[in-house]
């Protein structure tokens, strides 16, 4: 399971994790449950239907399959599988019972979504499992505890019957060592706070937390001593002006003449603007250090992924997958 606050790139990390797990000839299923079609966008393929299909390959004959789990389809499939509904299924749909069950009946929606993931982990082909691993691009950290614990909620609600049994088995799988919930964050205050809250909640529910993935890491562009100077507001303008001169910025591009005074003023203004940006950079680096320390204190392995200047494409996903493999969670 891969969760994270909105905007931290959890779908990207889930996809990279699926690729990493597929390396060496394994077959992995990557699922999404929020109807966003995030996987299709990421892999640049047409919208995913409610059917498993192969979307990428990995080394040694590895394969990543993808599935967008849709609650209504999952419910109809479930009813067909267990109750051979036929015409009654259509009636349920017309009456709005399917809508009801998937939008309002407490917890049922989540049981269906997680239940489908559960089914994929159990499925066998001959004697071997169909998938070596299943990766879920899970709901965001704000809801993750609720979503994964809803099986309990339903178990409490439905005292007997098939849903209760189903919910119980799902919960057993989720709590076992076969599951890991990875939390994706970036080094900003709110996402880190949400990561801490989610971790505490997952512990409370008894779900195993895997790694904390720090996504979109950027290296400081200034030396430590310069960062310190910048935070104190003491970066020397004259040195930067000299540097700009050395870079040939003293020469005016284009024609026209410029007096020496005007030239100096122009370079100083540029230097000051650059220094102001350097100060912002230093403040951000300091803030990131603080947040990093908070995450280190959580007692889970911390994995780092870099910010990719050129955005995310398939090549970038393979690169991130390689980094995940090198650091352990896959």
């Amino acid at each position: 399971m891969v969760s994270g606050k909105g905007g931290t790139g959890k779908t990207t990390v889930a996809a990279a994790l699926a690729l990493a797990l597929a390396a060496g000839g394994r077959r992995v299923l990557l699922c999404e449950v929020e109807g966003r079609q995030g996987i299709a966008q990421l892999f640049d393929v047409p919208q995913l239907p409610y059917a498993e299909q192969r979307i990428a390959v990995a080394s040694g004959g590895g394969e990543v399959w993808a599935l967008a789990i849709e609650p209504k389809a999952a419910l109809l499939e479930y009813l067909e599988l267990f109750y051979h509904l036929g015409r009654a299924g259509k009636v349920l749909e017309r009456l709005g019972a399917i809508d009801f069950a998937t939008t309002i009946a407490p917890g049922l929606r989540d049981v269906l979504l997680i239940g489908k993931v559960y089914e994929a982990t159990r499925r066998r082909e001959g004697t071997a499992p169909r998938y070596d691993a299943v990766v879920l691009d899970a709901p965001p950290t704000g809801r993750i505890g609720q979503v994964l614990n809803v099986n309990e909620e339903v178990a409490g609600l439905a005292r007997v019957g098939p849903i209760r049994n189903q919910a119980g088995s799902i919960m057993n799988l989720l709590r076992s060592s076969a599951t890991a919930v990875h939390l994706v964050t970036v080094l900003e205050e709110m996402p880190v706070q949400e990561t801490c809250d989610a971790l505490a909640e997952l512990h409370r529910i008894g779900l195993p937390v895997g790694s904390i993935v720090v996504n979109m890491m950027r290296e400081p562009l200034l030396a430590p001593a310069e960062l310190a100077q910048a935070t104190r507001g003491k970066l020397p303008v004259t040195r930067v002006v000299a540097g700009l001169e050395a870079a040939g910025m003293g020469r005016r591009s284009g024609h026209g003449t410029e007096t020496a005074t005007a030239r100096t003023a122009r370079l100083r203004a540029t230097a000051q603007a650059l220094i102001a940006e350097g100060v912002q950079h230093a403040r951000r680096v300091a803030l990131e250090r603080e947040q990093r320390a908070v995450l280190e204190g959580l007692g889970r392995p911390v994995v780092e992924l870099p910010a990719l200047a050129e955005g995310i494409d398939l090549g970038a996903l393979y690169d991130l997958a390689e980094r995940l493999r090198a650091q352990g969670p896959a």
């Binding site: 909105g6 905007g7 005292r159 970066l235 040195r239 930067v240 540097g243 870079a247 102001a276």
Partner: protein, 384 residues
């Protein structure tokens, strides 16, 4: 392509505007923007404002005096209001709001019965549309209180933050969905299956309904179905019509006294959501004031482009004894300019599609906002 500038101060000063709704995707700074707008309206424009926040970050909530959740507005301490101006703030407690609705409309015994039902427990705390519905409900209540108050009391501006939905559109859809479910066909079937009968086609329906409830009993178990039937029956008598309430709020939002602000950050997903929202508001004839683009990056040295800065840094770095500070600063600048360019490209794609939507850009701050002075700073930047 450049968009018309959104004059935030003109909107805040306009006494005809009595409700401002801030909507947009999650994580774009909706709550902070709502609080900053409310504060500015009170301090600069002498408005009597109440801000309804949904899920503020802890430290921002503390700075607004929202540490205690009591589901009713409290004055914010430290506001330097102009003239008659004032600022009250509250944080939505969805469960309590739902309980209040039940208590207000049901006899005490009936209310107890509803509160004890497991379906109510779940519906009032975890159904994905309840927060949206309750935000609308609370807005309706605040509006009634504002207009009911004698002159000089109450509020003349309500600023509403919207729930952090999966999709920004949920805010408009969920109340309707909850409403239509609660008066829907399924409910009628569950509550009165025996009523159906008589004419031939009804027999067919009845048979189908019989098999449908049969299946539901099998799937859910008889106890669950009974709980559900009691719950639905109890709610049904209490509310009369959920849909009518949702529709009234909807109509209120279409009035010219409402101003919608769509909030976004210069990122592809957030702007895509903003586009959907703008189109949807137009379809629903809801008054859109404009787009607030948060966390925009720009440079005071924008004449120095990304490529030139990066090339200069490379060249200096190759020299003997390179001036490391200048090299570093040029790289910081090159990053910033690349980011600026990417953001502007996204923003102009939005503006190309919606050339008539006014836009206010708010520069990114290095740190998160958690006090009134931070909110004032955001207000300044909003006003341009």
């Amino acid at each position: 392509m450049s968009a018309p500038a959104l004059d935030i101060d003109a909107v805040l000063a306009d006494r005809a505007v009595q409700v401002m709704v801030c909507c947009g995707a999650g994580g774009v700074g909706k709550t902070t923007t709502s609080a900053a707008l409310a504060l500015r309206a009170a301090e600069r424009h002498g408005r009597r404002v109440v801000v309804l926040t949904i899920d503020p970050a802890r430290r921002l909530a503390q700075s607004l005096g929202l540490a205690e959740l009591d589901n009713s507005p409290r004055p914010v301490v430290g506001v330097e209001a102009a003239g008659e101006g004032r600022l009250d703030a509250m944080m939505l407690d969805m469960k309590r709001t739902f309980d209040e609705v039940i208590s207000a409309h049901a006899s005490p015994e009936k209310a107890e019965q509803i509160f004890a039902n497991p379906f109510y427990q779940a519906l009032s705390t975890s159904f994905a549309g309840t927060q949206e519905y309750m935000a609308m409900e609370k807005l309706g209540q605040l509006r009634a209180r504002a207009s009911g108050a004698r002159a000089g009391q109450g509020w003349d501006l309500i600023v509403v933050d919207t729930p952090p939905s999966r999709s920004a559109l949920d805010f408009l859809d969920a109340p309707q969905r909850l409403g239509s479910f609660l008066d829907g066909r399924l409910i009628r079937v569950l509550t009165a299956p025996a009523r159906v009968g008589g004419r031939a086609y009804l027999k067919v329906v009845s048979a189908a309904v019989g098999s449908a409830t049969g299946v539901m009993t099998k799937v859910l178990g008889a106890q669950v179905l009974r709980d559900l039937q009691t719950f639905v029956a109890a709610l049904d008598t209490v509310f009369g019509s959920f849909r009518a309430r949702a529709e009234r709020t909807y109509e209120m939002l279409q009035q010219p006294g409402t101003a919608f602000l769509v909030i976004a950050a210069p990122e592809a997903d957030a702007l895509r959501e903003a586009s959907y929202f703008v189109e949807r508001l137009r379809d629903e004839r809801m008054p859109l004031a404009g787009l607030v683009l948060n966390r925009v990056h720009r440079s005071a040295a924008s004449h120095l482009g990304a490529e030139r800065a990066a090339a200069a840094a490379e060249e200096l770095d190759d020299a003997e004894d390179p001036p490391s500070l200048t090299v570093g600063l040029l790289r910081v600048h090159a990053d910033l300019m690349r980011r600026h360019r990417r953001e502007q490209a996204l923003a102009s794609r939005f503006t190309g599609a919606h050339p008539d939507v006014a836009v206010a850009e708010v520069d990114a701050l290095a740190e998160d906002v958690h006090d009134l002075s931070g909110l004032r700073e955001i207000g300044e930047r909003l006003a341009g």
